[in-house]
Amino acid sequence: MWIKIKRVIRAGFFSFWRNGFISLSSILVMVVTLFVIGSTIFSGVILRSTLDQIKEKVDINVYFLTTIEEPEVLSMKENLEKLPEVAPPIVYVSREDALAEFQKKHENDEITLQALDELGANPFGATLNIRAKEPSQYESIAKFLESNNSLSSDGEVIIDKVNYYQNKDVIDRLTRVINSANKLGLILTILLIGISILITFNTIRLVIYMSRDEISVMRLVGASANYIRGPFFVAGAIYGFISAIVTLILFYPITIWLGGTTENFFVGLNIFHYYANNFGQIFLIIVGSGVFIGAVSSYLAVRKYLKV
């Protein structure tokens, strides 16, 4: 048994090495396949992280009327913090803080500051900044604010405006765009992966087609089906392994090159850092797919010539 395995592996290596040009072309085709698989991983990560980042940016700002006193705002804050949907902490910006921030923002803008002075009083209301635990929960928080809870103890209106509904449209649309881009991308990559696997399979089939006489001779000297298939299986796995290594090496300069661009464009995800940090996982996926596709293609392709 052991001697057979040894012979099969040795024969696989020899046939890989001696069919130099054919091996090279099979490897090139497989590199394309694996490259598509790798790109799918990367584009998926980019889209997902962009979506997450956008979701992160969603929050609700509650602007109070200028006439409302601090204790009322704080009691409102307390009420809100009791909601299970709200992710603490709720950030409270007092009227004074809002004014100071505005002044700081416009410290070089004399006219604006003058206009502010002329107003005499502080025109800013206090604000609460609320984040939800899940993006889907904003709706219910907004509803809570709209309901009677938004009134003070004596039934007076205290909230000037809630900015959730203004952002909501934009956020919803962006989410939809990204989601459908994700879906389209998935369909396209599945199609691409399918096509490239078919091309790889056909290339390997051609390689084995050229060996059909060899297979029939092996059959006639009484070699068993598995003994004939073994070396092709091994050679296919070697094609896959080498293609995977080539692909992983190719991704290195490409992700470095794309890293800066993705960092600026897709809110802070550097694709090279992602590649470097998740190398182990990506290595396993690419090498695994390569060896699997190569070996299975060979296995299936030889079957046809084993009938003698």
């Binding site: 006639l220 009484g222 070699a223 068993s224």
Partner: protein, 226 residues
């Protein structure tokens, strides 16, 4: 040793490759099968190798019906038969040594046996000097000698040579026939098909003549008569 019992092979209703063929071959015999192309020689050999099964009739090797064997048993059975083809069918990316060693590996022989036997059979076919050459570096006659070496290395009971001299010049043809005779003298049954009148006439061995899927002559010390 080999017995064909009323064997027919019909591909479609109109195409009859073999029709009710019966004959026997004894151990250590040297039998030539002659006939025009399409007379059924190759079909007959393919059935003996269990590459094709007969439409009617049975083929016995010793006392077993070849076509009742399982796949594994067929592999074992084929190791008792050495085959030599007109087009040599050497494995192009293996050198001479490996081409012969492969047949031994398939038969499950040990590395020690392979290392001892391969040079020995190459000596028998006078090709020791080319042991590390690849098939494309050999002449037609040399390739055929490798193919004979591969056929005999497992010490089969029978050698089937399907037009082994078809691609060779007269000198190489003579050499190959001498090698086959030598193997026969050492006790191996030989079944030879050929179109070469000179070969048959010089052999003075048993000749089966085929025509349209039938055996029309069976002569003890036959000549090439068609």
């Amino acid at each position: 040793m080999i017995h064909f019992d009323k064997v027919s092979k019909i591909y479609t209703d109109k195409s009859v490759a073999l029709e009710e063929i019966s004959f026997s071959i004894e151990p250590k015999e040297f039998v030539s099968i002659v006939g025009h192309s399409g007379a059924g020689k190759t079909t007959l050999l393919k059935m003996l190798l269990a590459e094709e099964s007969p439409s009617k009739g049975k083929i016995f090797f010793e006392s077993t019906d070849i076509h009742s064997l399982s796949k594994t048993q067929i592999n074992e059975f084929r190791r008792k038969i050495g085959v030599v083809f007109q087009d040599f069918r050497l494995i192009p990316n293996k050198n001479v040594y490996e081409n012969i060693a492969f047949a031994m590996e398939a038969a499950g022989r040990t590395d020690e046996e392979i290392e001892a036997d391969v040079p020995h059979v190459l000596e028998l076919v006078d090709l020791s000097k080319k042991i590390w050459n690849f098939p494309h570096e050999l002449s037609g006659g040399e390739k055929q000698r490798v193919s004979i070496a591969r056929a005999i290395v497992n010490q089969p009971d029978v050698i089937i040579a399907d037009e082994p001299t078809g691609n060779l010049d007269p000198l190489n043809t003579y050499d190959i026939v001498q090698i086959l005779k030598k193997i026969n003298d050492l006790g191996t049954t030989i079944i030879l098909t050929t179109h070469n009148k000179g070969v048959i006439d010089s052999l003075k061995k048993r000749v089966l003549t085929m025509e349209n899927g039938r055996i029309i002559r069976d002569d003890k010390e036959g000549k090439y008569i068609i």
